[in-house]
């Protein structure tokens, strides 16, 4: 018994001594709120996997870390490509002297120089029928000969990469050209996404099925092996090329100290430590204990917990903590399934339901009143959004809603069956529908909650087994096409148009506009489509949310980025400040 007590005592004692902080090395501590599946870029469909891959891998282009609106800049590419007059042939030049990480996959274990074959190989991998890449939709039916190559290789044992494809041509070791089937103005954005990161053929072949645990890229950090634990430790890539911190940014960046490191060689930190913490409470507590330098506050009402108002509490301010509130390129919605006869030809019913939902209250309850009420599909910050535009059916007006409901054929909801809204099994998702249901009850419409795991929800929507569902959509790239496509008829389930909404006028405009390069004319067309769809109410438009980040004072150069997978190489840690402030934690 005594011995046991002693043992337990030792156990507690050992438990109570935590490790000291490291003030000698520039370590960046980050939190990823989701499990990381692996390091194969072609499957980088979620933001968090993309963020991890972006530390190790690079693409031809990246978004400028400071300039807004988002601006593409060459990364592995030497310059922006030359585009032929018909807009179909792109000629790229890539940088010379870029080295892959040292790896056992290469001869002598030394990383070799990047060449144009690597780029073409990486693009072909997205089409490889054996791999079923999650990023295939980006290039599906876009590059000349690629779909044919995919089909041809499907029955084969292994895909034949040596076969030349008409659309993917190597010119020399550092030059190649890509020929498109049809105009694709979003093409360069696609090449900046994590899906299109460049991998080395040797590494893919050497590691085989284990490739996803052995990332061998050209990026600023190295990770010799991904161990699937809840902590990922990256170290600075010693062979990284000379890449400099930008010396210009958006107006005002100078004052914010974002240009203090201008012209310095990046990456600026020696090490990045990423802890994977899924639950809200430990995430928040870890940040407060200064175990993480940056915290993304979940989109749910946890943000109220942290800030209780739009300002930080004095206690947090006193510790030097800063708050970043940034409007996101996203939209939340309740979609009607237009397969359902109840909704399909009954615009008045859809409008009635839309007007019965008190968005102002929802905004206050769930988003700390920081979200923007969506008037239609396109979020602010993208061409096609017009600030002055107000959708009359987004206004909360239960009286008009009742009138519309009666006109729709269901006076006081009589005759209308209860509507089930499918959502994710998450706290706030459930609460939002509870709120929605409570509002609709006032005009006599019964709403039930259907809770699903993410896979189940996707399944129900792709199989059209839903009446209504709710979801949020985040931009893949800064082009409203990504949002308008959600209501484009050919994208109906199993595609991304889960509302199965069809409107031929809209579809015709979509085809024309999305083939145009960015221009005032194209944006005018986007505006027209956006406002046209608003009155049709194929969705109950929800919100464009605001994302909150908290950072400690010693984290330098942080600026919110929607497409932030390449951002981490620009961040810096001020060890002096950290040493000083750490006494407060």
């Amino acid at each position: 018994m005594k011995r046991l007590v002693l043992l337990f005592g030792i156990f507690l004692l050992a438990a109570s001594c935590s490790k000291d902080r490291n003030f000698d090395e520039r370590e960046l501590h980050l939190i990823s709120p989701e499990k990381i599946a692996g390091f194969d870029p072609i499957h980088a469909s979620d933001m968090y996997s993309g963020n991890e891959m972006g530390k190790v891998y690079e693409g031809l282009f990246e978004f400028h870390p400071l300039k807004r609106p988002y601006e593409l800049m060459p990364n592995l590419a030497e310059t922006l490509p030359e585009v032929s007059a018909d807009g179909l042939t792109y000629t790229f030049k890539i940088k010379k002297g870029v080295l892959f990480h040292d790896s056992s996959a290469f001869k002598d274990g030394k990383g070799r120089e990047l060449n144009s074959d690597d780029v073409l190989y990486s693009l072909k991998r997205l089409a490889d029928p054996k791999l079923q890449a999650k990023g295939w939709w980006l290039f599906d039916d876009k590059i000349l000969g690629l779909n044919e190559w995919k089909d041809k290789n499907a029955p084969l044992e292994a895909s034949n990469y040596s076969e030349e494809i008409e659309g993917l041509k190597k010119i020399d070791n550092h030059t190649f050209s890509i020929k498109l089937k049809k105009p694709y103005p979003q093409f360069l954005y696609a090449l900046a996404m994590p899906y299109s990161f460049i991998v080395a053929k040797e590494a893919v072949e050497h590691f085989g099925k284990e490739f996803l645990n052995h990332p061998v890229g050209t990026g600023p950090f190295i990770l010799p092996k991904f161990e699937q634990t809840n902590r990922i430790v990256y170290t600075k890539n010693p062979t990284f090329r000379e890449k400099l911190y930008p010396s210009e940014g958006e107006e005002g960046d100078d004052k914010l100290g974002l240009l203090a490191d201008a012209g310095k060689r990046i990456p600026l930190v020696d090490k990045i430590i990423v802890d994977i913490i899924v639950e809200s409470q430990p995430k928040w507590l870890s940040f407060q204990k200064a175990k993480a330098d940056l915290l993304e506050i979940p989109k749910d009402n946890f943000d109220q917990a942290v800030i209780g108002g739009k300002e930080l509490s004095p206690e947090l301010k006193g510790k030097g903590i800063r708050l970043f509130a940034n409007p996101q390129l996203d939209v939340t919605f309740f979609a009607f399934n237009h397969d359902d006869a109840i909704f399909k030809n009954n615009k008045k019913l859809r409008q009635a339901i839309s007007m019965a939902w008190n968005r102002e209250e929802a905004n206050k309850l769930f988003y700390n009143s920081a979200a923007v009420e969506a008037q239609s599909v396109i979020p602010p910050g993208l061409g096609g959004y017009r600030k002055e535009f107000k959708n009359p059916f987004v206004k909360y007006d239960p009286e008009t809603a009742k009138k519309l409901l009666a006109e729709a054929g269901y006076p006081n909801g009589k005759g209308l069956p209860a509507i089930t809204v499918q959502t994710r099994n998450e706290t706030v998702a459930r609460q939002i529908i509870e709120h929605f249901a409570k509002n609709l009850e006032k005009i006599g419409v019964q709403v039930k909650v259907g809770m699903n795991t993410w896979p189940e929800l996707v399944n129900k929507v792709t199989k059209r087994q839903h009446q209504m569902y709710t979801m949020g959509w985040g931009a893949d790239y800064p082009d409203a096409e990504n949002f308008l496509g959600l209501l484009y008829c050919p994208n109906s389930s199993p595609g991304s148009n889960g509302a199965n909404y069809c409107n031929s006028e809209f579809d015709n405009l979509f085809v024309t506009a999305t083939a145009m390069q960015e221009s005032p004319e194209r944006n005018a067309m986007y505006e027209k489509m956006n406002e046209m769809i608003a009155n049709e109410v194929p969705w109950i438009f929800g919100f464009h949310r605001t994302k909150f980040y908290l950072s400690h004072a010693w984290l330098k150069n942080y600026k919110f980025m929607e497409f932030n997978h390449a951002q981490f190489q620009y961040l810096n840690v001020d060890l002096e400040v950290k040493k000083e402030l750490s006494k407060k934690f």
């Binding site: 809200s280 009402n301 109220q304 209780g308 994710r424 706290t427 459930r430 409570k438 795991t453």
Partner: protein, 283 residues
């Protein structure tokens, strides 16, 4: 008439134990609350707003209000209905299956035993929580799925315990004696052995009832349980996000409600065991 006097005796002993009485009163009170709530006599207006959002407990709102300004107390009561119904339904499914299969397996042995052992080994070799989550996920959630999942997992323990106990008793002198004076199998099993293993059923039920309540809370917390109705689990789920800003009353309300009933079931089960176990008689 042996059983009658046993139960009467047990009741008298139980009545003397004040902890058991208090527990019994608590359980009965919860049952009453659940019945009244399911009849719509109390807590039918749980969905109504009674005040502002997230008000702390006060004399007006004993447990405060939730994010929508609904009374947490009313939600707790409504949650009681859900919890008690889950416990009851689970017991109603698990006891008959568990006792019947366990008894015939233990008594007859041979291939009957082999079959039943195979069945419960199969079930018990898959972790309960996985089976629970899988069944609720696949049956499409809601209370019904929770009943079925808990019923399907909770008969196993009872069956195993009954089987073991029956096997032990089969060899005891009194059963041998009953056999010697010409008792048939069924007579021996149901008249002589089963009354002597009732305490197992009772202990197990009190245990199972609270395990069911706890499981429902966890399933609802994971979003797999009750839909569109308050449950202690969903209240704790809400609390997860509210705690950091000092809204502790939903967690406290749900936890307290659950704590009391689970505690009462446990104490009552123990007391019943002491009172009912024939071997303890006269001590």
């Amino acid at each position: 008439m042996k059983t009658n006097s046993l139960w009467k005796d047990a009741f008298l002993r139980l009545a003397k134990d004040k902890w058991a009485l208090i527990s019994l009163i608590i359980v009965v009170a919860y049952a009453l609350v659940a019945i009244l709530s399911s009849l719509g006599i109390i807590a039918s207006g749980w969905a109504q707003e009674v005040g502002a959002s997230n008000l702390p407990p006060s004399t007006e709102y004993w447990f405060g209000t939730d994010i929508f300004g609904r009374s947490v107390l009313t939600k707790v009561i409504r949650g009681t209905q859900v919890a008690m119904s889950v416990g009851l339904a689970t017991s109603l499914i698990a006891i008959p299956i568990g006792v019947f299969l366990g008894a015939i397996a233990g008594y007859f042995g041979g291939w009957v035993d082999d079959m039943i052992t195979w069945l419960y080994t199969t079930f018990s070799s898959i972790p309960n929580i996985m089976l629970l989550i899988s069944i609720t996920m696949i049956l499409g959630k809601g209370l019904f799925a929770v009943y079925v999942a808990l019923g399907a997992t909770s008969w196993v323990t009872l069956c195993r315990l009954i089987r073991g106990e029956v096997m032990k008793h089969k060899e005891r002198e009194y059963v041998q004696a009953a056999g010697a004076i010409g008792g048939g199998h069924m007579r021996k099993l149901f008249l002589h052995i089963l009354p002597n293993v009732t305490h197992i059923v009772i202990i197990n039920t009190s245990l199972q009832f609270q395990v069911a309540i706890k499981s429902e809370v966890i399933l609802s917390y994971l979003g797999l349980g009750v839909q569109g109705e308050p449950s202690w689990g969903t209240m704790i789920d809400d609390a997860k996000l509210e705690l950091a800003r000092g809204v502790w009353w939903q967690l406290a309300g749900a936890t307290l409600a659950m704590f009391l009933v689970v505690l009462a079931f446990n104490l009552l089960g123990d007391a019943l065991r002491d009172a009912l176990d024939p071997k303890l008689k006269g001590k």
